[in-house]
């Protein structure tokens, strides 16, 4: 009996681990991003920043591989046929957030925006907010697989933090356009703020869908 149950669930066990690793990648990307931007604001495009940017790129690359593996296994092993489309959708949208972290970090590396010192605190705050948003999104998504009752709690946090990040990015934009710096710099910095805030918006959209999928998944 023990052997039977082992062989019955061994194929799904490795996939369960892969899904867990995939969520780990999202959390890694969020924390590394937060740290990278802090370093960038302190040191500019330093070696340490380049290293962190590369680290995010590697996380994104690993997440892509995991995503492809999860997707192909779900189909080839004909798993969760009734919820497979929803799970694939979730995995792809999680990947979008990881991609966005990489994209923004690389954009900082390439364009080297010059944020005046008096904005550093608020930029860091915005980055913390979007990272928290992504982390809670990851936790909500993980809960979708294991503990449905927690999905709502994490989702509520995402909605709250996303709203906070909207306020932060709006105030930053106003402040930048009220300042005396060049218009070209204003437009560039505004673009960066939008890119960072977009991460929280993607997380919010993800949660909207996740809550629908949770209703479908509940018995």
């Amino acid at each position: 009996m023990f052997h039977l149950s082992l062989s019955l669930f061994s194929s799904t066990k490795s996939l369960e681990s892969k899904i867990d690793f995939f969520h780990d990648k999202l959390l890694d990307a969020a924390m590394t991003f937060k740290r990278a931007i802090k370093i960038f604001l302190e040191q500019g495009r330093s070696e340490e920043y380049a290293k962190l940017s590369k680290q995010i790129k590697q996380i994104e690359h690993d997440a892509d591989n995991l995503r492809r593996d999860i997707e192909s296994k779900l189909y080839s092993q004909n798993l969760i046929p009734d919820l497979r489309a929803d799970v694939l959708h979730l995995v792809e949208n999680l990947d979008k957030v990881i991609n966005k972290f990489d994209e923004v970090a690389y954009k900082f590396y390439v364009e080297r925006p010059l944020f005046p010192d008096n904005y550093h605190g608020r930029i860091n705050e915005l980055c913390n907010q979007v990272s928290d948003c992504a982390e809670n999104m990851g936790k909500a998504s993980r809960a979708f697989f294991r503990d449905l009752s927690s999905v709502r709690d994490y989702s509520q946090k995402v909605y709250f933090i996303e709203h906070e990040s909207d306020l932060s990015s709006g105030q930053l934009q106003e402040s930048i356009f009220d300042s005396d710096i060049d218009l070209s710099a204003k437009i560039q910095l505004s673009g960066f703020i939008n890119e960072i805030a977009d991460i929280a918006d993607i997380a919010e959209d993800f949660i909207d869908e996740l809550l629908i999928f949770t209703i479908k998944r509940d018995i």
């Binding site: 669930f9 799904t12 996939l15 899904i19 969760i80 697989f145 294991r146 449905l148 009752s149 018995i219």
Partner: protein, 354 residues
């Protein structure tokens, strides 16, 4: 095969046809969602359903069949042929008209029709017992479904089972529930298919070696169960694909709850050993009567609907089921009576002895 044997099988054909249609339709109740959602392959479902329908029919089919025998002992082969044919035609007619129907109710109507034609008194006590089970069947399935539903929900909430693991458990559960459902279907519904032929059965006990033999009734039930299996293999896939469960979209887990609750009800109304066990402990037991698997499934689905808060339930279907309790046996009785008249007076067949 002698000419007498061939004649027997010609008369048995109406029962075999009823068995075939039962297999084609009722397998969808047991494995419909599992196959429809691709949780279980059709071939796997068909093999399991066939094997367990045969086991249920041969080893546990006698109880419900005996009750039908109490309602009316059809003592000639042409009479049995016409009763089964009347039941099959009325089921077909009702399905064509889009009304919920059941072979269990049709065969009861046909037997009553035969009783009237043969001038036999219908035992009203037996009849009222049978009719009451038609009402109890979906209600009981609903109650059991509610209990299982809450239990499953409780377990899922506390166990924090991973979605993929839950999928594996559900897949495994659907196969086990399907096997149990097929066994219960065979045990309960073989009476509809072959019950009227029991009294005119020519089969004798056959021994297959030490400790393994089948009596005449079991051989008859085996033939009927093979007809049900043929229906499962040849046509149930089409029923699953085109009609599915035709009631509501169900997740595999909810389908499992529905199949288990419906199967338990079919089993309760078929198991002689359970009845004996309850009697021996001075507990009330359910009568052994063929009931409708479709209506048990509907009862199960309604139960889950109520457990979920009762919103979006189609209460009209209950009225239509209740209408079927009257119309199906009435149609079958009328068709049987009229057909027996023609069989006796036009084709010169003896449709009753005494």
């Amino acid at each position: 095969m002698s000419s007498v044997d061939l004649t027997y099988f010609i008369f048995l054909s109406s029962g075999l046809f009823l068995g075939w249609s039962l297999g084609a339709n009722d397998a969808a109740n047991i494995f419909g969602t599992a196959v429809g959602t691709k949780m279980v392959r059709f071939r796997t479902a068909a093999v399991i359903a066939s094997v367990f329908v045969i086991l249920g029919a041969v080893y546990a089919g006698a109880g419900a069949s005996a009750t039908l025998g109490e309602l009316g002992e059809i003592d000639t082969l042409p009479g049995a042929f016409m009763a089964a044919l009347a039941a099959a035609v009325s089921v077909y007619w009702m399905i064509k008209s889009g009304l919920p129907t059941s072979s269990s109710q049709a065969i009861v109507g046909a037997i009553v029709g035969w009783n009237i034609f043969a001038g036999h008194q219908t035992d009203t006590a037996v009849l009222s017992t049978i009719v009451s089970t038609w009402i109890v069947c979906p209600v009981l399935a609903g109650i059991i479904a509610i209990l299982i539903y809450y239990l499953v929900r409780l377990v899922l909430r506390h166990s924090r089972t991973h979605l993929l693991r839950q999928d594996s458990y559900t897949r495994f559960g659907l196969i086990i529930a399907g096997a149990f459902g097929a066994y219960a279907l065979g045990a309960n519904n073989i009476a509809n298919v072959m019950g009227v032929f029991v009294d005119s059965s020519p089969f004798q006990t056959v021994s297959f070696g030490p400790g393994f033999s089948l009596n005449g009734t079991q051989i008859l039930f085996l033939i009927g169960a093979l007809a049900i299996s043929t229906g499962i293999f040849t046509y149930s896939h089409k029923v699953i694909n085109t009609v599915g469960n035709n009631l509501m979209h169900m997740s595999p887990l909810v389908a499992w709850v529905v199949v288990v609750s419906a199967s338990v009800v079919l089993f309760l109304f078929a198991s002689q050993s359970l009845q004996q066990f309850l009697h021996s402990h001075n507990l009330p037991a359910l009568p052994l009567v063929p009931v409708s698997s479709s209506q048990a499934v509907i009862g199960g689905i309604m139960g889950i609907g109520i457990a979920k808060g009762g919103t979006g339930l189609n209460w009209g279907i209950l009225g239509r089921i209740a209408a079927g309790w009257v119309t199906t046996p009435l149609f079958a009785a009328i068709i049987c009576y009229v057909s027996l008249f023609f069989l006796q007076n036009v084709f010169n067949q003896v449709v009753y002895l005494n």
